[in-house]
């Protein structure tokens, strides 16, 4: 485990800088030597991985960090190369980015906007990170995306599912690979129709904050278009741990589908409570009562245990996919860590690769050049089929998976099974779709 000697760079730098030192007397203006923020001058380039390491999403954050380390290893030419071999763009050669070795710094978002911005700022201001990536909630993603726009670095979002990230809060320096609430609705609706028919009465329980609302709106719109009726939508406090008082009224509401617009700990508890109240065995209006969890994640499904069996939802990616890219990724991740990667791991791995590739193709670390390289970029081989990074809102358009909790899992990782792969065309929407309206991308900011 001998790491390269850090002082090598220091020697070079101190030599060069003693002469240049104190040469910029323009006090109180931003440093004007570089054309953009944190232009990497040495033989290395630093990326900032900002993930939740404490708080309820710490496990997801840990998985993201594993994937980042794997991505860095692959970009630097180590390991088996993973998805770099299946990636349709061949710009990356395994020699770092633009010949510079990739280094990284890590930070803790604590799943709080303030803390996330603080740690992102420390990476930018202190460690000279040229790109920030990560996060496990939409609030954090939007907050950090805004910061990166102001500071003039690229932000490659991690887990963020809210429409707002590439809707009303979209930013020219921010890019999202993950899917969003609208896509969940669009992907789920046809499956729900074929499974449960078009004459259903849905009851929504929604986490009472921005993400919950956008998801409720999306799913409601998609299911009502099928002819479903929405009986009631109830907001639950984010801090709630026991959902029994919200589930109990469902029993006599006449609804026959319960939609849980919850994520993380909220989702685990509300689903557990719903199953406790016998909703899965219940019969209403002569139909089986059904529960839908629009946004699934395997790590959270594990927390809900047996309760997920037979319950449908959507997810960005799942390790059981059989395409070449997914297989390659699962193989190198699984060999290194001993268990399959989560969708969080997949998405941040892709984001890192996409960023590195864009820099390579652009030939520069300048955020504006990188953004230009990513905009409208079409690629394949990263596990979700043919994918487009749309230029107008920096959202990835790709296939969305509809999954179901598996009835007979063979191992502790084998919790979900893919029911349908909804093609990208079906989840694509117009840039000025009302659910995404209200924001402006602005122009890219190179900072400095």
């Amino acid at each position: 485990m001998d790491k390269s000697n850090l002082s090598r760079r220091g020697v070079l730098k101190s030599g060069a800088l003693t002469s240049a030192g104190l040469a910029l007397p323009t006090i109180f203006t931003a440093q004007s030597a570089a054309a953009f923020t944190n232009d990497p001058t040495g033989s290395t380039v630093t990326l900032g991985f900002n993930v939740p390491q404490t708080g309820p999403y710490a496990d997801e954050g840990a998985d993201e960090l594993r994937a980042y380390q794997l991505a860095v290893e692959h970009i630097n030419g180590g390991g088996d190369g993973g998805m770099m071999n299946t990636f349709s763009s061949k710009a990356l050669k395994g020699s770092g980015i633009l010949g510079k070795e990739v280094k990284y710094v890590t930070g803790d978002t604590q799943t709080k906007s303030d803390a996330a911005r603080a740690s992102a700022k420390s990476m930018i201001e202190k460690d000279g990170a040229v790109m920030i990536t990560g996060g496990s909630s939409s609030g954090v993603a939007i907050a950090v995306q805004g910061l990166c726009q102001e500071a003039g670095v690229i932000f490659m979002a991690g887990l963020t599912h809210s429409n707002d990230t590439t809707g009303k809060d979209k930013k020219a320096n921010g890019f999202r690979h993950f899917f969003n609430a609208y896509m969940s609705g669009a992907a789920l609706a046809p499956v729900l129709k074929s499974l449960y028919g078009d004459n259903r009465r849905a009851y929504h329980l929604t986490a009472d904050y921005t993400w919950g609302w956008t998801q409720e709106e999306s799913i409601k719109a998609a299911t009502e278009a099928l002819g479903w009726e929405t009986v009631n939508t109830v907001k639950t406090p984010l801090a709630a741990t026991d959902f029994s008082s919200y589930i109990a009224p469902v029993l006599n509401s006449g609804a026959d589908v319960l939609v849980l617009n919850h994520y993380g700990g909220n989702m685990v508890n509300s689903l557990t409570n719903a199953v406790q109240f016998g909703l899965r065995e219940k019969q209403v209006n002569g139909k089986n009562f059904e529960i839908v969890v629009p946004l699934y994640s395997r790590l959270m499904a594990k927390g809900a245990g047996e309760n997920v069996k037979g319950i449908h939802g959507s997810t960005n990616w799942h390790w059981s996919l059989q395409d070449e890219g997914s297989q390659a990724f699962v193989r190198s991740f699984g060999t290194k860590y001993g268990f399959p990667p989560s969708q969080a791991a997949h998405t941040v791995y892709c984001q890192t690769l996409l960023y590195a590739d864009a820099v390579e193709r652009a030939g520069s670390f300048n955020p504006c050049a990188v953004a230009e390289a990513l905009e409208g970029f079409e690629f394949d081989g990263l596990g979700n089929g043919k994918t487009l990074y749309r230029a107008d809102d920096h959202q990835c358009f790709k296939d969305v998976l509809v999954v179901r909790g598996k009835e007979n899992p063979t191992s502790e990782f084998d919790l979900l099974e893919v029911v349908e792969v909804t093609p990208a065309a079906q989840v694509t929407y117009d840039v000025d779709h009302p659910m995404f309206a209200g924001g402006a991308l602005g122009s890219c900011n190179p900072g400095a």
Binding site: G21, L24, F28, A30, G107, K112, D114, A118, T210
Partner: protein, 400 residues
């Protein structure tokens, strides 16, 4: 000087010098050395040091002097932040109106909440303030951010959008918070040998305000009003028997400390124009209590030390990962290296909470008077050994 006695002037000058040279003092390690991990001299963290210093100084005026333990001060911080961002949205990015409004609004809230809460004392007071703060948090996080009446922008945090009015915004002004054109983010980097020092405009503005706040706090501590507040702490009943109504004094202290908190919140927005509801959560209120007690409640300099201590941990220790550890112990043989990393691993990175918890306990157990007491003990220890340097040693001694 400024109506302070000699010792207080000394303390003030020392704090002023520390604030002035913080970018240098906090960056003791060369930028590329392995120890650079411990450098704290970058704008964001320095800003946090002084802003939370202000918050803690204000909290100390209430808690340190009167003994009333408020568990809801984060609410004022949040209210201050929101007010400031609203000024950005309506008037433009100049920080002055925002800072003033944040003091004003949080003062009003403090008056209201203080008036109700101060009807009770002891833990009942604590729970009342906690209840108010939690209500503010819950409402700000969800209800007040509904699309029809969006006051707080909920989870995402209140921020300035391109379509906001910003009446006084002109072309040529920075598109970020600024003081009459001087961007809060303007940073002058100066390289001296292997060291790089960052001098940031936002930091110096906050530091200047912190010095003013510190000065005011000294004046309050030394004033008859301050004596009155101490009397409340030592024996409120006896004070009441002598015919003095203590309520106006405690309420005044509460409002003042609420305004300090609001100012801190306003400054947080001024250096980074996004106000999130998490700032108001009970854990944030708890944090300022921890800062004050950790540093030394009732002392002048203690809360600032405590604030620095906690923020340092949050920002520095959470960023140490295994990779960094390996680079530190790279000089050891491989087996030893892995062993050392294995030992330290639980306490850094994702384990920084653990380290912080352990340190809290150690400080409270062994240094009841907080870090200031630790300083005093070290001082006393030196005084015993190094025979006659007493004249100098008195300088950093805190107020109580």
């Amino acid at each position: 000087m400024f109506g302070l006695d000699k010792r207080d002037t000394g303390v003030l000058i020392i704090v002023a010098l520390l604030a002035l040279f913080a970018p240098i003092i906090l960056n003791p390690f060369p930028t590329d050395s392995a120890m650079a991990q411990f450098n704290a001299g970058y704008p964001d963290l320095m800003q946090k040091f002084v802003i939370f210093g202000i918050f803690a100084i204000g909290f100390n005026i209430l808690f340190g002097l009167t003994g009333y333990l408020s568990f809801g001060h984060a609410a004022f911080l949040g209210i201050g932040s929101y007010s400031c961002v609203w000024m950005f949205k309506l008037l433009g990015y100049n920080v002055i109106p925002g800072i003033f409004l944040s003091i004003l609004i949080s003062g009003l809230f403090a008056l209201l909440i203080g008036f109700v809460s101060l009807r009770r004392s002891g833990i009942y007071f604590s729970i009342l303030t906690l209840a108010f703060a939690q209500m503010c948090f819950a409402l700000a996080y969800s209800v007040l951010s509904n699309p029809r009446f969006n006051l707080t922008n909920g989870e995402t945090g209140l921020q300035v959008y391109a379509n906001d009015p910003q009446w006084f915004h002109r072309d040529g002004l920075p598109d970020l918070p600024h003081l009459f054109g001087l961007s809060m983010r303007a940073t002058q980097k100066i390289q001296v040998g292997a060291w790089e020092f960052q001098f940031n405009a936002g930091y110096y503005l906050c530091a200047l305000i912190m010095l003013v706040c510190f000065y005011l706090a000294i004046r309050i501590f030394r004033s008859p009003f301050g004596m009155m507040l101490r009397a409340v702490k030592s024996n409120q009943q006896r004070m009441n028997y002598t015919g003095l109504n203590s309520r106006p004094y405690t309420l005044a202290a509460f409002v003042i400390s609420g305004m300090y908190a609001g100012l801190a919140g306003g400054l947080l927005s001024a250096v980074d124009p996004l106000a999130g509801a998490e700032r108001m959560q009970w854990t944030a209120s708890g944090e300022v209590v921890l800062m004050t007690i950790l540093g030394g409640a009732g002392t002048l300099i203690g809360p600032v030390l405590g604030a620095g201590f906690i923020k340092y941990f949050e920002n520095i220790f959470s960023k140490i990962n295994d990779n960094v550890l390996h680079s530190w112990f790279a000089f050891l043989p491989d087996g030893m290296e892995d062993f050392m990393v294995f030992i330290i691993h639980p306490f850094i990175g994702k384990g920084w909470h653990l380290t912080l918890g352990i340190l809290f306990m150690l400080v409270v157990i062994y240094l009841p008077g907080g870090l200031v007491e630790g300083g005093q003990r070290i001082q006393g220890w030196f005084r015993k050994r190094g025979t006659k340097t007493e004249a100098k040693a008195g300088k950093t001694e805190p107020a109580e």
